[in-house]
Assembly symmetry: C2
Homo-oligomer: 303 residues x 2
Amino acid sequence: MIYQRVALIGLGLIASSMAHAIRRGGLAGEIIGTARSSETREIAREINLCDRITETATEAVQGADLVVLCVPVGAMGAVAQEIAPHLSEGCTVTDVGSVKKAVIEAVAPHLPEKVHFIPGHPLAGTEHSGPRSGFAELFDNRWNILVPTVGTPPEATDRLRKLWEGMGANVDQMDAEHHDLVLAVTSHCPHLIAYTMVGVADDLRRVTDSEVIKYSAAGFRDFTRIAASDPTMWRDVFLNNKEATLEILGRFTEELFALQRAIRTGDGQQLFDYFTHTRAIRRGIIEAGQDTAAPDFGRGPKR
Amino acid sequence: MIYQRVALIGLGLIASSMAHAIRRGGLAGEIIGTARSSETREIAREINLCDRITETATEAVQGADLVVLCVPVGAMGAVAQEIAPHLSEGCTVTDVGSVKKAVIEAVAPHLPEKVHFIPGHPLAGTEHSGPRSGFAELFDNRWNILVPTVGTPPEATDRLRKLWEGMGANVDQMDAEHHDLVLAVTSHCPHLIAYTMVGVADDLRRVTDSEVIKYSAAGFRDFTRIAASDPTMWRDVFLNNKEATLEILGRFTEELFALQRAIRTGDGQQLFDYFTHTRAIRRGIIEAGQDTAAPDFGRGPKR
Ligand SMILES: NC(=O)c1ccc[n+]([C@@H]2O[C@H](COP(=O)([O-])OP(=O)(O)OC[C@H]3O[C@@H](n4cnc5c(N)ncnc54)[C@H](OP(=O)(O)O)[C@@H]3O)[C@@H](O)[C@H]2O)c1
Ligand SMILES: NC(=O)c1ccc[n+]([C@@H]2O[C@H](COP(=O)([O-])OP(=O)(O)OC[C@H]3O[C@@H](n4cnc5c(N)ncnc54)[C@H](OP(=O)(O)O)[C@@H]3O)[C@@H](O)[C@H]2O)c1
């Protein structure tokens, strides 16, 4: 057991996966959960997601030695303000938000000195959301990035690291600014691009939606999966990681223009070289164990 | 048995999957294969991919009642020219190229009147290539688009349709120009965009390659899979579907600019509305049976 009482604020994909993973590992004495809507709280009770579901965040954090903020990035500040007066001495507050700099700016000012704020971000997810979408294996062999704030005692960080390791994750540390840039490249921009391409497909009047859907086997299918993610979550990510996202999108547009020009002028060699180069990166990902080389059969069509 | 003797010209992913699927269904009396390089022919013999492997395409097509061109789009014309004098009376020639208008323009002029040319395109693939990458299930529940040329007897088209259905595919017909536009949206542009994003990630000096690889869980990981596809095949696709690809990329860039502006000005509502809209398209794909809603577990990390 690593914490006596863990309070999960927000009960969506990430929080419900944490609840399952914490139980799987026997990592907490008690798991308390709460969510904004009575509907979500009701579902959580029905599926027995936590040991106790409270009506308010204020109640949830009472006596907790770990509080995890699992709400959209844009809602973190208000939640922190609400719970701040009710936090126990020496308790650790962490979050799972996809953006770190803006979350720290929104949350840190509200928290009392007597608690340890250790922002975090598990690099794991699916396109589903809500309390029913979680599963214990979500974090297995995925990375969790911790961004400890200045003055956090190493023991507090170590304890949180052990929790995540107990949930199956590998843990890394970096500073908030670097986190936001790395994530802009590996996650935020790919999402925006996927959303855009799916939107273009839908706009095109000469190709019907049903054709797009019917013939979406490779390529587009992966984009639609990415683009099916929660709109609130992603709105908040882009509004709160503006600088890095816009920088990467600027570079992306430049390179895309260069490839468009190669297509227009028929420069096959440039296309071939570019495509050859990107293959090597894929090989790196397989070697790093973040994916397998096997054809995509786990996700085959329904028969 | 639907054909007496099927000749596969080129022995990569598509041809080797066809060989396995034809055998699985008992759809041909005999499968003859050939490839450009002796290395590929050697591997094909070693794994017993076909009933007979010939040194040249000319030999392979002799006596065949079905010839399938399974080479990159840019090589189709030369192969057609080479085999044309050796085709049997009444034989059907088809192809599996990802582009149709340019292939028809390159192949049709070489073929004698006595054969039926029925261009085709199976919408199924993986990022792997070569004779070892094929498997019998590749076409199961996927679409194959046939683009019969003017004057093709319906019996010839029906027979080819039966072959594809026997290999597990659903068969549709459309004209070449429409095919190329639909595919530009659902496959060609998504591939170019994925290649570009992977290239950008690699260019960015402040984020190391190993960081990109390490933290590529969601989003970027799907892009790298797409961007790992064969460079020759994709070079040929873009050079041969220039018009439709450039049109779609133009629209894509426009929409991306609009979303970039929304991020810059902090217009959360526009982002939210856009992301909400694209979710519906995803639902359509799941309902159309081209993917499942299950979290991506078939492709979990190696332990
Ligand atoms: N999904 C991913 O792939 C992923 C991956 C890594 C990190 N994250 C981060 O994890 C956090 C949660 O994401 P999730 O996927 O678990 O989301 P989710 O499934 O959509 O759940 C969000 C939860 O937050 C609550 N909530 C929403 N708006 C709120 C507000 N204004 N005030 C208070 N509570 C609010 C919701 O309550 P109701 O149910 O009552 O509406 C719900 O319980 C986000 O910060 C996200 O950036 C997500
Ligand atoms: N891969 C997909 O996802 C997919 C999906 C649908 C359609 N297609 C289409 O299917 C066709 C074959 O693709 P694939 O994925 O099977 O490719 P692949 O695995 O790379 O195999 C290509 C085959 O074509 C041969 N070849 C290459 N260049 C040639 C040339 N200039 N002249 C003669 N033969 C040549 C190769 O011979 P060697 O092995 O001797 O080099 C190899 O046997 C392409 O037209 C592609 O557009 C592909």
